[in-house]
């Protein structure tokens, strides 16, 4: 029986660039901005990094393929650099590579960096590219908001919820994230909005209006990881360690078998259950202090809270409307503004979530600081509800 990743790897340092429409920045600028902060935080030099993982999802937009962009950008000393891509979970995937490398003993210090340069397309939203020679011939033509909007139709049908009530809960999700993002100096969107504004916004994909969709941003985030012992030897206190890293990838049941009803994420249910087990968490609703979930769209966040076993099935609407996930609620969610307002440079997003958890667990989150957090959960969802990859990570204070 495998012992899992719990407490084998500590975060030595982290950095995150400002997210947003960084018209004046190349990917190199974004990577270096995040890395400078990270290196200073870790208190080491570049030459001490023994292996690196680069996450970027849409490589043809400026960043490039392979490990070269990272090795060139940071002038890494000819070490192993691996580029990973797993849709929106790419950043978490880079972290997994670095954490597993350290846990295996193959190296002492490893870097995970995620970066995306999306604002070189000429239009809003994600870049539209061919989905490949076969998929493009039979997959429905669709966009990300249209794919995730499918959840709303199925969720309403399953739980018998009126469209107005669901829209109101979805609006609350976005209003809450704008409230949080306004306090975050690195966030892409820092304006507060009202429920009325969300409900009156132009439609993007029924029933998602423009304020039900997250920002599309440029940005980078990174982490340097090592063992708790080495971290201590470097003089670090208040260590944050990795408690769980899980990933679940669809194999076609949702899109090809007849069992899935379209209202939830099969992968998130599986990945979160395994993550709680790996972290030794029995009652996630009570034990998880904070969550950064993949709120690409308001409806995604709403159903995800159920899939993470934080809200009971069918109870997400009530919890959201009750303010359970607000900054002053029982389980603050998207305390940094989330994808919605911090922004969503795809390859960087998983590491951006971790960055906030790391700050919160060390009591360094400024205006956004939550009182005495113990466990922070991050969740990425890449693809579409009917076929996706889902990562769940849990980090917490180190007691050892």
């Amino acid at each position: 029986m495998a012992s899992g990743i719990k407490d084998k790897v500590a975060i030595l340092g982290m950095g995150c660039s400002n997210f947003g429409e960084r018209w004046d920045c190349d990917p190199e600028d974004l990577m270096v901005e995040a890395f400078e902060e990270c290196l200073g935080d870790a208190g080491i030099e570049t030459r001490q990094i023994e292996a690196a993982w680069l996450a970027t999802a849409i490589e043809e937009i400026h960043v490039g393929k392979g490990g070269l962009p990272l090795s060139f950008g940071l002038r890494l000393p000819y070490i192993p650099v691996t580029r990973v891509e797993n849709f929106c979970a790419s950043g978490s995937e880079a972290l997994r590579g670095a954490v597993y490398a350290v846990a295996s003993g193959a190296c002492d210090v490893a870097l995970a960096l995620g970066v995306e340069k999306l604002k070189d397309t000429g239009y809003g939203g994600l870049p539209q590219r061919s989905r490949g020679v076969l998929n493009s011939m039979w997959w429905a033509n669709y966009s990300a908001p249209g794919a995730f909007a499918q959840l709303a139709a199925a969720y309403r049908a399953k739980h018998g919820i009126a469209v107005d009530e669901l829209k109101r809960a979805m609006a609350h999700v976005s209003v809450k994230s704008h409230e949080n993002g306004a306090k975050n100096p690195k966030a892409h969107l820092r304006n507060r909005i009202t429920e009325e504004k969300v409900l009156d916004a132009p439609m993007v994909a029924e029933p998602l209006g423009i304020f039900d969709c997250c920002g599309v941003s440029d940005g980078a985030a990174c982490a340097i990881v090592t063992t708790p012992e080495i971290a201590k030897s470097l003089g670090k206190t208040d260590l944050v360690t990795v408690k769980a890293l899980q990933l679940s990838v669809s194999n076609g049941v949702e899109s090809g078998y007849s069992s899935w009803d379209g209202s939830h994420f099969m992968t998130a249910r599986i990945a979160s259950r395994k993550a709680y087990e790996e972290a030794g968490i029995k009652d996630p609703r009570a034990e998880i202090s904070l969550a950064e979930v993949h709120d690409c769209f308001s409806i995604t966040e709403l159903v995800t809270m159920e899939d993470l076993h934080l809200s009971p099935e069918g109870g997400g609407v009530k919890d959201v409307l009750d303010g359970f996930y607000d900054a002053d609620g029982g389980l603050p969610c998207q305390i940094d503004g989330g994808l919605k307002c911090f922004g969503h440079p795809i390859g960087a997003s998983g590491l951006r979530m971790l960055y906030e958890m790391y700050l919160q667990l060390q009591g360094r989150a400024g205006d956004r600081q939550v009182k005495d957090p113990k466990f922070g959960l991050t969740h990425n969802l890449g693809g579409a509800p009917h076929q996706n990859v889902c990562s769940v990570a849990i980090v917490g204070s180190y007691d050892g």
Binding site: T121, G122, Y123, G125, Q128, R129, S130, V133, L134, S136, M137, W138, W139, A140, N141, Y142, S143, P145, G146, A147, A149, Q150, L151, A152, A153, A154, R156, A157, P202, M203, V204, A205, E206, P207, L208, N251, G252, V253, S255, G256, Y257, S258, D261, G262, P385, H386
Partner: protein, 494 residues
């Protein structure tokens, strides 16, 4: 006995009000107002002669999907490919297999009837069960009279020796190089000569001569003709032909001009289908088709016509209707205006022909798999069964989903993805009996879609590759349409 053994039709759901065309051109073409009554059938943005042909053929083959079809003849002058056999795509979409003779018949407005004659001649030689389809989507310049007169549509027949519902009594063709209009190679639009000359020197001289010879071939006197199926956009031309032959004007079949428009090579076949839908046994139907001469066929309905299962046909197609009064949409769908499509439309839709060939049954025929171990139906067919309790390897036989009814599991209406007619609707549809697909929807109205709604798959254009002149076809989900329900609803309304 040889003759027609089944028939079917398809008319696009969209009907453009002629008033909207007249209004748009009134500033420079006030004379068009005389043609401004009624409506014309109009292809949706994802329909063309080939997709309409598939629908007419499916209607025709209703209830006889297991019968072998030895040959497919496709008549049209508006086929999507000049050099890639269109009848071959039609056969593949219908899942007729590879042991089938296929031919495109084109270049004349007679192409529909000429295709039918070729199949009947083959039936005389012993070939039974061939499929004949005529389909046209004729483009005109904006503001041409023909824009008001034409319409889009398709008709299909099976021809053979068994189960004949309309026996062939005789036929005749006159081939005359009378050039009323022409369209040169690589030209987009027809060039037309003067109407009065076409009528007086062409139609009224050539058509009666051809009909007389066909009646003589059939051994039928003019007074025995129950229905004269003859269409022309020329004023009173059909009436004059009937009069000159001694056929009473009330025997002229409905021209379908009021609600459909002249559907090119498909028009005489469409009128023949409509006549067959209402005909009892023992009726003599004469169908004539004018174009560089004239084809004439003489049929007599048999007792078997009463036993043919009900189909959508022309009546059902007319009932499946949505009025369109936005002429700009017609201009856009027909490429008659340069429109801003947004940068999302710039995505390169090159088709890998190698891939298209490897998966041709899946892509053209919507063929998936059934697991021989657990019985799970799945799309696409895969090497490992999708059932999580099975996952057998190499266990699947082919299963065709195109004719299986489905229902909506999830959906959205997307304003972001490029679509010529936004919003783009799509969602997961679940097939009765198992299997599902995340599919684009077509022929849906904003606000009309809901979870659980019954859907039917239709063969449509998925993407246009304007850079290379290619178009991709695939299957989409459209709201189910029940001709019986529509008929009884309209009867109740009366």
């Amino acid at each position: 006995m040889i003759g027609l053994t089944a028939f079917g039709a398809y008319i696009p759901r969209l009907r453009l009000s002629r008033r909207s065309i007249v209004d748009a051109h009134r500033w420079n073409q006030p004379g068009l107002a005389r043609l401004g009554k009624g409506e014309r059938a109009m292809c949706n943005w994802d329909e063309d002669s080939l997709t309409m042909a598939v629908e007419a053929a499916r209607d025709c083959l209703e209830g006889m999907r297991d019968s072998a079809v030895p040959a497919v003849y496709l008549g049209s002058t508006t086929l999507p490919f000049e050099d890639r056999q269109n009848a071959g795509i039609l056969g593949a979409a219908l899942g007729l297999g590879e042991d089938v003779r296929t031919a495109d018949v084109t270049s004349s407005q007679r192409a529909g009837t000429s295709a039918l004659m070729a199949a009947l001649e083959a039936a005389r030689g012993g070939e039974g069960g061939s499929l004949v389809v005529a389909s046209d989507q004729r483009r005109t310049k904006a503001g041409a009279a023909q824009e008001l007169q034409f319409g889009d549509g398709a008709a299909a027949f099976t021809v053979g020796r068994e189960g004949v519902v309309a026996r062939l009594l005789g036929m005749h063709t006159l081939s005359v190089d009378f050039v009323d209009h022409y369209r040169g190679a690589n030209r987009e639009f027809d060039y037309n000569w003067e109407e009065r000359w076409i009528r007086d020197e062409g139609f009224l001289k050539i058509v009666p001569r051809a009909i007389s010879k066909a009646l003589a071939d059939a051994g039928v006197e003019a007074e025995r003709v129950s229905r004269l199926i003859l269409s022309s956009t020329l004023p009173r031309a059909a009436e004059k032909v009937a009069g000159s032959l001694g056929i009473p004007a009330d025997r002229l079949a409905d021209s379908l001009h009021a609600g459909v428009g002249e559907a090119g090579t498909a028009h005489p076949p469409l009128m023949l289908v409509q006549a067959l839908e209402t005909a009892g046994p023992g009726e003599v139907l004469v169908v004539a088709s004018f174009g560089q001469g004239c084809d004439v066929l003489v049929f007599e309905t048999t007792e078997a016509i009463a036993e043919l299962p009900q189909r959508r046909g022309v009546q059902g197609s007319l009932a499946r209707r949505r009025e369109e009064s936005n002429y700009n949409k017609f201009l856009a769908f027909n490429g008659l205006i340069e429109r801003e499509k947004g940068m999302r439309a710039e995505v390169d839709n090159q088709t890998a022909l190698t891939q298209l060939y490897r998966r041709r049954e899946m892509l053209l025929g919507l063929v998936g798999g059934t697991c021989d171990v657990c019985g799970t139906r799945q799309f696409p067919k895969s090497r490992v069964c999708v059932n999580p309790n099975c996952n057998a390897m190499n266990s699947q036989s082919e299963f065709r989903f195109s004719e299986v009814p489905a229902r909506i599991v999830t959906w959205s209406a997307d304003h972001l993805t490029y679509c010529p007619d936004p919003p783009l609707h799509y969602g997961m549809v679940q097939f009765d009996g198992g299997g599902r697909i995340f599919a684009n929807f077509t022929d849906v109205d904003v606000g009309s879609v809901e979870v659980g709604q019954r859907m039917r798959m239709m063969f449509r254009v998925k993407d246009y590759d304007d850079q290379r002149g290619f178009r991709r076809y695939f299957w989409k989900a459209a709201p189910e349409f029940a001709p019986q329900a529509a008929a009884s609803a309209s009867a109740a309304g009366e």
